[in-house]
Symmetry: C2
Subunit: 439 residues, 2 copies
């Protein structure tokens, strides 16, 4: 009973079906699943908004994933997904699949054969759970930007092809730039600071690159960085206050626009407290050792310490967020501003750098930056960096940079943590890792 297109009908989305009970609608989407019981055929049509069960007779069903158009009558049906079914009057195949998909899209399970799932990502990414992660990320990024614009921030676009790294030279991907050596930018750090001299408050949403050899479930070699830099601050406290407001705006938007995706993945949207708890790194290390008996290695928090500290705040204050503050100089990059002693003099050992932990993992690094030229040059010398390779950056500090600070959020890591996705690769459409350059 394939018939001519019913182009006189506006397209209806599957999530709108309840509004059209008893009426004839036109759906467009993909053949998500099909079952032929001889005289009667069931099919599930998937569109951007969800899925709809459709039933008809005498239908010539194409292969799964074919693009199709269904015209039919909407009927309440308690057992159908969403509570409604479409009784098919006509089915039009817009574009037939020529092969069955390599995996059955409706039956995919998270992290079953993750490498196979990623090898066939061009089609597995159509899965409802797979795409839910990317939809949540899109909403999260939109909320990030919209909130910052509402606070007077200006969006910037900075070079990803650079002549030197922001952090000193390790972990850079080399590029052949017309025969000259160049690199993929690890971070827009230095450029966003320069732009504070132009727009005072700036942000950028763009990919960054880390040529890290190790392959872990929390690292990507290419990821989307949500970068912020803010001038005319008093201290890093202003930056943490800003990040708190940004996170609150993100969770509000996710509550408005991504409830279905969180439900599908069995995840909950966290509350952001009006003031996220703040604990110094030294106190955090002590707490984890004394309360949980975990001896923290290194100068930072190790992954287990991050997990335990988050557990402490979840248990005692009911929050998924905690700022860890006042990092020692040895654990932060050269551009981090020193903290002050209570008498107002600088404390060269302690910085105004902070991390934000969310559900047991670091999702942000931030802090106040050095804004005075002499202090910056002293810091470059103390870190044994080459001032000439940083000259293009340090130059601007001769010209009156205001006190400023900022932070960066890894979009995929936040997405994965929000949704309980164990491997950050599934929070990126086409991840790049040590062994994966395609698709």
């Amino acid at each position: 009973m394939t018939t001519q297109p019913a182009v006189h009908l506006q397209r209806t989305l599957t999530r709108e079906l309840p509004r059209f009970e008893g009426q004839t609608v036109r759906l467009q989407g993909f053949l998500h699943a099909r079952r032929d019981l001889g005289g009667v055929q069931f099919l599930v049509l998937r569109d951007v908004s969800g899925v709809a069960q459709c039933v008809g007779s005498g239908l010539d069903l194409p292969l799964p994933e074919s693009s199709i158009e269904v015209v039919g009558r909407v009927k309440a049906h308690p057992k159908a997904p969403g509570g409604y079914e479409v009784q098919v009057e006509s089915l039009r195949v817009l574009s037939a699949a020529v092969e069955p998909p390599p995996v059955e899209i409706p039956k995919m399970e998270w992290n079953v054969n993750p490498e196979t799932m990623l090898d066939y990502r061009v089609v597995t990414v159509r899965g409802l759970k797979e795409r839910a992660a990317l939809k949540v990320q899109a909403e999260l990024v939109a909320a990030f930007r919209d909130h910052l614009i509402s606070e007077g921030f200006t969006e910037i676009s900075t070079p990803k092809i650079v002549s030197a790294g922001a952090e000193g030279g390790a972990n850079l991907f080399p590029i052949d730039y017309f025969g000259h050596p160049a690199y993929l930018a690890q971070s827009p750090q230095l450029y966003k600071q320069i732009m504070v001299g132009v727009f005072e408050r700036v942000f950028e949403v763009a990919p960054v690159y880390r040529a890290e050899e190790h392959a872990t479930s929390r690292h990507l070699n290419e990821y989307l960085s949500l970068d912020v830099e803010m001038g005319f601050i008093e201290s890093e406290e202003d930056v943490m206050d800003l990040e708190t407001r940004v996170l609150a705006a993100i969770m509000t938007r996710l509550g408005e626009r991504a409830q279905a995706e969180f439900a599908l993945l069995g995840a909950t949207i966290p509350d952001v407290p009006a003031r996220i708890p703040r604990i110094t790194l030294m106190e955090a290390r002590q707490l984890v050792t004394e309360k949980y008996g975990h001896a923290v290695g290194g100068k930072d928090l190790d992954p287990e310490a991050e997990r335990l500290l988050s557990q402490h705040y979840a248990e005692t204050q009911g929050t998924d967020f905690v700022f860890v503050t006042k990092y020692p100089r040895a654990a932060r990059p050269f551009y981090t501003h020193a903290d002050h002693h209570p008498d107002g003099t600088l404390n060269p050992e302690i910085t105004r750098g902070f991390d934000l932990l969310f559900r047991g993992i670091e999702i942000t690094s931030g802090g106040q930056r050095i804004h005075e030229y002499a202090m910056l040059m002293d810091s470059i010398a103390a870190y044994k960096l080459n001032p000439e390779s940083l000259a293009g950056y340090t130059e601007v500090f001769k010209y009156g940079m205001p006190p400023h600070g900022g932070f960066a959020i890894g979009a995929e890591r936040l997405t994965a943590r929000l949704l309980g996705i164990a491997n950050v690769r599934y929070a990126r459409a086409f991840p790049r890792d040590r062994h994966r350059l395609t698709p």
Copy 2:
């Protein structure tokens, strides 16, 4: 008379001064200009919103571009910029410049010593006209995204590190990816098409890379691409209709938020007609030859023909926009969909590809794409491309891709054309060209 900070006062922006006549305000910003007449000092404070003239006595003025805070009383003053002056009660230097800037920021002129201006871009970008271009671009990009989201589009983030180019292999920057050859993406073309199978309508705002050796005033080696792809279309007409709505939304927002920037640069915001005129490439070539006596070389329009065609539409229809449609196959990439003869059969010589001209220059390429697997493989063979290097892309067309099309706008080129900026480099914060890897 430098005094303690007046932290009890909320910060006021310079553009808000008219609301505070007779009151004491606190301004923060940069020392844009200064003049010392002995007993009295004039200074111009620049902040993100504009400039304010301030006057005081006994002030110890730092070097230009220093970060400063002024507390003072707002007084109407017809000769001051904006009509108000601040009578300084206290001046606090937040961060003193240690050298005078290499060029005088208030006296810079467009394109005077362009290479010098770009060499010192970290500070010249603070200029009022320089930053106006970047502000306009930020608003333009925000309008692009907001409009597409309002039409149900989903934002995506696709890889910029790729194993092969979308257009066949020329003009790619090579990357060393853990010892494997890789390239910087020329375009998200293939990935945004794949994502139509996921979200139906998608967009991306991200940098793209062209390793073009030539240096012209209209090309950048790294630029911000505003990419759109839309599924379930009838033809490329749907795509042109969409782009018209996007452009209208952009101009509306610029009218609301960037009037001052257009005024500063002496530019006008164009009207977008409800229907932008459409002319086929063949007709356009004929028109330019017959009306202006210009013999068009090649298979496309040359720059002079683009200019003349725009002139024709400005003169006859009063519009700055025109779509040039139905490009011959030889002038479009392999993934472009063929047009149909009037009888409905395919016309292999003519495509559904189009360009958009704005004020004499092409700012968009777009079109309907091939969505059927067999047709795509035939096209790859006809273009003598290697199907294996494109296998990661063609794979998805086995699985029922719907009819789709899209377009891309170069953000810097549109910005430059809107503002009458002759060289597209000035529409990017830190441009990359044949000879410029820094700052």
